[in-house]
Structures are given as structure tokens and as C-alpha cells.
């Protein structure tokens, strides 16, 4: 029993964090917002060169062969930096599922080199992200996981998240390569991990603002009402993070109740991110109500990810069946059931 991330995991996440802080600051988000495509080959290439596309691809296929928990550490950083490229879907969700399905070595090699982008399609999501630039579509029907090359185009929707590219999906079809269950759980986990990073980014922005904005002759962060808003957000985030880590381990091991853990992670992280978004807006005053302050990029991503890959009702229903329905052992001694 050891609930710590390793030094290597911490170092990797810190490296990615530093890299993204250097090349993917808010000014990049604003530039992307002005681009028709909302995407940048340069940003994608940078992520690939950092090794992120191959993070979970086995070494034999040119990747780093790391674990889902490593992937969660990186997803947190992608959230923190507001990265909108389809790297999380491709490298952190699709790649491990393709590894588990087996027989996908060629595609995994392409993922590692950054030449394949995988769009994810699932009945729980009415829309599909980044379908236009995807090379492949990994989709789920009621029981099978299907892989197809993307064909044709789709109608672009208008998300409140300025960098999100959502499309009305056509039936993707393709060959069955496995069972469908894991797609939703993995994607919910990676969304949850991004929410942690998004929430921490918003808390940091609001805290910085509270240190510099002065009213009544003092920084607003010296006012207790402001302090307590921010402290409450910090509490929520602190207790969501280990839930996400626990779900990563559970899914990585294919544990019996991994789906419940994924739902718990999605709920805890989304609640924390949503609450932090409201707090951060409030602390910014009217600035928080503008398109000019960077905060809105993260806030809108938090809203989007809260309902993607199973909304609150969907995940609560799964907790309900397990906890009230009694399929999951609960109580002291069942911390890791």
C-alpha cells in the first residue's frame, strides 16, 4: 500500500508543466482563438516532440510505455495549460485502449510519431470533438469498440469553449476491436484529470489577481471574504485529486469496480472545477465577466468537460447503483474496494 506518486512521475509532470508554461501561455490561447481552425501544427508538433503522443504507447511501437497514472499526471498539466489539441483523446484515451485491444501496432506507431489523431465517439456524447482533423475514429456501440478511418466531413457546432471543435457525428462504423465499456471510463478519467489542472489554474489566476488588485487601499486578497472563497476552492480541489489518482490505478489494473471509481473521479473533479470557476469569476469582479481576461478559457473548458463523457446525472446514476444498490462493498475496511 503506497498512495504516493513516484519521483519519476513528479519529475515528468513538472517537466511538461514547465514546457507548457513556456510555449503555451495565455497569449497562445488568444492567438488560437483568432485562427479559423483553432488548432496549430506547431503546438501539436511540440507536444509530439515532448513525447506526449507516445506516452502510453509501448516502447516497441516507439512510445514511452508509461502507465495510466502517468497519463493522468500529464492530463492534469494539459488542463492547467488549457491545451485544446486532441492530444488527450489520442494519446491518453485511445492509445491505452488500442494497446489493450491488441493487433494495433501500426496505428500505435503512428500515434507515437504524431501522424495519427484519433477522434472518440460514444453514445453518451451527442457530439464528437476534433472530428475534422482526425485520421481515425474510435467509437463504441452498445457492446463493441469500433475502429475506422475517418471519412467525409461533418457539421461544426458552436461550443462556448472558444477552442473546442465539436461536430455532429455520422455513424463511424469500422471493425470491432474490443468491448466498448472501457472507452467511456477512460475518457471520463482523463476529462476528470484535466478538470483538476483547470481548477488549479483558475485558483492560481484568482489568487494572483487578489494579490495585485487593490481597493480601499489594500490588496483585495487581504479581505477575509475573498480569502475564504479561495480557501474553499482549495479544499475542493485537494480532495478531488486523490479520487482521480485512485481511479487511474483502478482502471489501469482493470479492477472490478473501476467504473464506479471513474464516475466518482469525474464528479469530484468536475464539481471542484465548476465551483472554482464561479469563485474565480467573483474574485475578478467585472474583469471576470470579460472575454479579455484569460480566465474564461479555463472556465468554459470546465463547463464543457463537466458534461462531456457522462454528465452529472449519468455518473450519479452509476454511483447510485453501486452504493445504494449495494453492488459495491462500503464502510471501513473497504477503502480500496
Amino acid at each position: 500500500m503506497d498512495f504516493t506518486i513516484s519521483d519519476d512521475q513528479a519529475t515528468l509532470a513538472q517537466g511538461v508543466r514547465d514546457y507548457l508554461a513556456g510555449v503555451h501561455g495565455p497569449e497562445v490561447l488568444r492567438e488560437l482563438d483568432a485562427e479559423e481552425s483553432r488548432r496549430s501544427d506547431a503546438v501539436w508538433q511540440g507536444l509530439v516532440e515532448m513525447g506526449l503522443s507516445g506516452l502510453l504507447v509501448p516502447e516497441a511501437q516507439g512510445g514511452l510505455g508509461l502507465s495510466l497514472l502517468d497519463g493522468v499526471g500529464i492530463a492534469i498539466e494539459l488542463g492547467r495549460a488549457g491545451v485544446a489539441e486532441p492530444i488527450a483523446d489520442t494519446a491518453l484515451v485511445a492509445a491505452p485502449l488500442l494497446v489493450a485491444a491488441g493487433g494495433q501496432d501500426a496505428l500505435l506507431e503512428r500515434i507515437a510519431t504524431g501522424s495519427a489523431k484519433i477522434a472518440l465517439q460514444h453514445p453518451v456524447n451527442p457530439w464528437t470533438a476534433d472530428l475534422d482533423t482526425a485520421s481515425h475514429v474510435l467509437s463504441a456501440d452498445s457492446d463493441a469498440l469500433l475502429l475506422a478511418e475517418r471519412s467525409g466531413t461533418a457539421r461544426l457546432l458552436d461550443s462556448v469553449d472558444p477552442l473546442r471543435r465539436l461536430f455532429v457525428p455520422a455513424s463511424a462504423g469500422g471493425a470491432a476491436i474490443g468491448t466498448s465499456g472501457a472507452l467511456l471510463d477512460h475518457a471520463a478519467l482523463i476529462a476528470a484529470a484535466q478538470q483538476i489542472g483547470i481548477a488549479e489554474a483558475m485558483l492560481a489566476q484568482a489568487t494572483d489577481y487578489a494579490k495585485t488588485r487593490t481597493q480601499f487601499g489594500q490588496p483585495i486578497g487581504s479581505f477575509q471574504a475573498v480569502k475564504h472563497h479561495l480557501a474553499s476552492a482549495a479544499v475542493k480541489i485537494a480532495f478531488a485529486r486523490p479520487v482521480v489518482q485512485r481511479a487511474a490505478v483502478s482502471l489501469g489494473e482493470g479492477a472490478a469496480h473501476a467504473a464506479v471509481h471513474a464516475s466518482h473521479a469525474k464528479l469530484a473533479a468536475s464539481d471542484a472545477a465548476w465551483a472554482t470557476a464561479e469563485t474565480a469569476t467573483q474574485v475578478h469582479g467585472a474583469m471576470g465577466y470579460t472575454y479579455e481576461v484569460d480566465l474564461h478559457f479555463w472556465m468554459k473548458r470546465a463547463w464543457a468537460l463537466a458534461s462531456a463523457w457522462g454528465d452529472r446525472a449519468f455518473h450519479l446514476a452509476r454511483i447510485d447503483a453501486a452504493v445504494i444498490g449495494g453492488t459495491l462493498p462500503i464502510g471501513p475496511g473497504h477503502s480500496f474496494a
Partner: protein, 383 residues
């Protein structure tokens, strides 16, 4: 990260489980807050000590088992799983004990720790005064040096267990001219010493769970001072850290309450509101989150880390969780919520628990003070 228990840890769990099953009283004890209940709980402490379960993380030299924090968490899980009584010994083993280990002399360790682990001496804490609550640096009770004794005069209040306990520990002003955090010393005293008067205070539930203490020239040996004269504030802050931090409220306590809440919900499902259903799920999720976080903190400490102002995050989380869970239970009970004893004659534990949960956000440093600490020390906001 490895979230599986080792075979040794599983064997340890089985050992604790077997002992608890054989020894936990079949009938629930009376409340710890009344005299007879207190005696029953002390008897239980002695029983625990007879099995060497007083404080499993302490070294064998002091009546412990020299176990690590994961084993402690396992112990606590089995303790609550068995429905074992609350710990009358909590001030000693969770607060003063760690303080003496960090700041005490060898003589003090030898004198105080073993009787503490064995439940032979039950401790009360005495920080608060009528005019020093959240603002503890406003303490005015004095301990004036007289040869190798201090002479204590003043008043303490809200001292848990002090109505019945044996010894107390607290902060006293050893430099009468000092102000605020300076000139305070951390002193242990015998509650039966001449000059100490206890006035039990009835708590919200009606029983005297805490007391006022009056000191009238109470002579205490200088050898009962922990750390240097005038260094009491820092020692007390360490004690407070232990209180908010890892040990005072182990996750098993809330996991047990959440599981009971789920059972209560099932029994009342037909007339429960959809909101109650969601609150029950939230209770389970938050109790689990608290468990994961505690395992994470325990693992970090075992790897050489240490917990500082982060303890304030914990204190807010468990106290607000506890109150929310019990509030939900009160709402599920409907008309029966107000009954102190339910139809089957048993105590309405949810009502008792709800009443107690109201104190969680107040004691051990109010949650407002904890939010100040988080804002100033973790987020770096200006004071």
C-alpha cells in the same frame, strides 16, 4: 503508487479484526460525556491496552507496537468496523503524546507516555480561556516561577474530558510582563492538585463533556514544563497541527457513518426526497475522498514528507462532511429526528451525532480560522 495491501498488512488486519470481535462490548456504552459513561470508556481503554492496542504507532518502549501509519489506518478501519467505543484517551494519544515525543525530555517520555498508552492517565487539554478562544495568544492565566515550581493562577474553559479526567496540559503565561505569543509555556498539571476547581459545563446534548477550570495558586513542578520556558506557543502550534492533521479523525469514522447513512436511506427510501438520495451518495463519495487523501498523506509522511498548513484542508473537509452526513440523516428520519430515544428504546444516535457534528467546525481551531490559514500560508494571500 500501489493500492493493494501486502500479505503482512492483510494478516495484521485479520489479527485486529479477531481481537475486536472477541473484545468489543456487545452493548453500546453510555455516552463518554457523562460520568458513568466516561468510566465505561476508561475501562475500555484499559482493555485495549491489555491487548497492546492503546496506540499502535508508538514504540514498544512506550506501550505501543512500533507500527507504521498504514497499519494505523488498518487498525482504525477494523476499530470502526467493529463498532468499538470512542476513545476517552484521544487527547493523550493523538495530541499530547506526539508533542512529548517531539519536544519532551527522556525523563518526561518515561514518566508520561506509557501510562498514556495504557489508558491509566486520561488527559484534558486546556488552551481556551473566556477571553482567549480563536485568539489564543490572548491567554492571561499565569504560571509564576517559585524555585523549582510554578504557581498557576487563572481560568481555562471548554476543556474536553476535564470534568472527569486525571491530568491536563495547556499554555500559561510564565512571563507576566509578556504579550501575545511570547512568554507562554506548555505545562502539564494534575487535575486533582490542590487549588484546581473544575466546573462541568453541560454541552448542547445536556451532558458535561467539557469543563471550566479555575486555578488558585496551584503548585506544579518545573519538570512538568514541555520544552523551554517561553517556548510554549510553538509547542502548542505543533500540538494543534497534530489535532487538525492526520490522526484526530481517521477516515474509518466517516466511512462507518456513511455506510450507516446508506442503510438508513434504504430503510426510508420510499419517502425520501431525490435531494436526500444525492446527499447520501455525496456522503459516501466524500468519506472515500477523505480516506484516499489520508492514505496519501500517510504515505507521504512515511516517505519522509511532512504535513504543515495542509492540515487545515483536512480539518475543514472532515468537519463539514460530518455535519452534512448527520443533517441528511436527520432529514431522512423525518418526525423521529427529534426523539432522543427511538421506538426500540435505543439512543437516537443520528441526533446525538448531529449535535456533536455542530462542534466540529468550531473546535480544533474554527473553520474560519482554518480558511485564514489556507489563504495566508498555502495561497500566500496578504494577512
Amino acid at each position: 503508487m500501489d493500492l493493494a495491501y501486502t500479505p503482512e498488512q492483510q494478516a495484521f488486519r485479520a489479527e485486529v479484526r479477531a481481537w475486536m470481535e472477541a473484545n468489543v462490548p456487545r452493548e453500546p456504552l453510555l455516552t463518554l460525556e457523562c460520568e458513568q459513561g466516561y468510566r465505561q470508556h476508561v475501562e475500555w481503554e484499559r482493555k485495549l491496552a491489555s491487548g497492546n492496542w492503546g496506540m499502535v504507532t508508538w514504540s514498544e518502549a512506550y506501550g505501543g507496537r512500533g507500527l507504521d501509519l498504514i497499519q494505523w489506518l488498518i487498525f482504525e478501519e477494523e476499530y470502526y468496523r467493529a463498532g468499538a467505543p470512542l476513545r476517552a484517551n484521544q487527547n493523550g494519544i493523538f495530541l499530547l503524546g506526539p508533542t512529548i515525543m517531539e519536544f519532551g525530555t527522556d525523563e518526561q517520555k518515561a514518566r508520561f507516555l506509557t501510562p498514556m498508552a495504557r489508558g491509566e492517565v486520561i488527559w484534558a487539554q486546556a488552551w481556551s480561556e473566556p477571553n482567549a478562544g480563536s485568539d489564543m495568544a490572548a491567554i492571561t492565566s499565569k504560571a509564576i516561577r517559585d524555585g523549582d515550581h510554578y504557581v498557576i493562577t487563572g481560568q481555562k474553559t471548554w476543556s474536553s474530558r476535564a470534568s472527569f479526567a486525571d491530568w491536563g496540559f495547556g499554555l500559561f503565561r510564565t512571563d507576566p510582563d509578556s504579550k501575545r505569543h511570547k512568554g507562554l509555556s506548555f505545562i502539564l498539571f494534575d487535575l486533582n492538585a490542590p487549588g484546581v476547581t473544575r466546573r462541568p459545563i453541560r454541552q448542547l446534548h445536556g451532558d458535561p463533556g467539557f469543563a471550566e477550570l479555575f486555578f488558585d495558586e496551584v503548585r506544579v513542578p518545573v519538570a512538568n514544563r514541555i520544552a523551554g520556558e517561553g517556548e510554549g506557543w510553538n509547542v502548542a502550534m505543533a500540538t494543534a497541527g497534530f489535532e487538525r492533521g492526520l490522526m484526530l479523525r481517521s477516515p474509518a469514522r466517516f466511512q462507518a457513518a456513511a455506510a450507516r447513512l446508506v442503510s438508513l436511506f434504504r430503510a426510508h427510501e420510499a419517502k425520501a426526497s431525490p435531494a436526500a438520495r444525492e446527499q447520501v451518495m455525496q456522503a459516501w463519495m466524500d468519506a472515500q475522498a477523505y480516506a484516499y487523501n489520508t492514505y496519501a498523506v500517510a504515505s507521504q509522511i512515511m516517505a519522509g514528507g511532512h504535513i504543515g498548513a495542509e492540515a487545515s484542508l483536512n480539518k475543514i473537509f472532515w468537519s463539514e462532511l460530518d455535519r452534512a452526513m448527520h443533517r441528511t440523516a436527520m432529514q431522512l428520519l423525518g418526525a423521529a429526528a427529534e426523539l432522543r430515544h427511538l421506538n426500540d428504546g435505543g439512543l437516537n444516535g443520528w441526533l446525538e451525532g448531529y449535535i456533536f457534528s455542530l462542534s466540529g467546525p468550531i473546535y480544533a481551531g474554527s473553520n474560519e480560522i482554518q480558511r485564514n490559514i489556507i489563504a495566508e500560508r498555502l495561497l500566500g494571500l496578504p494577512r
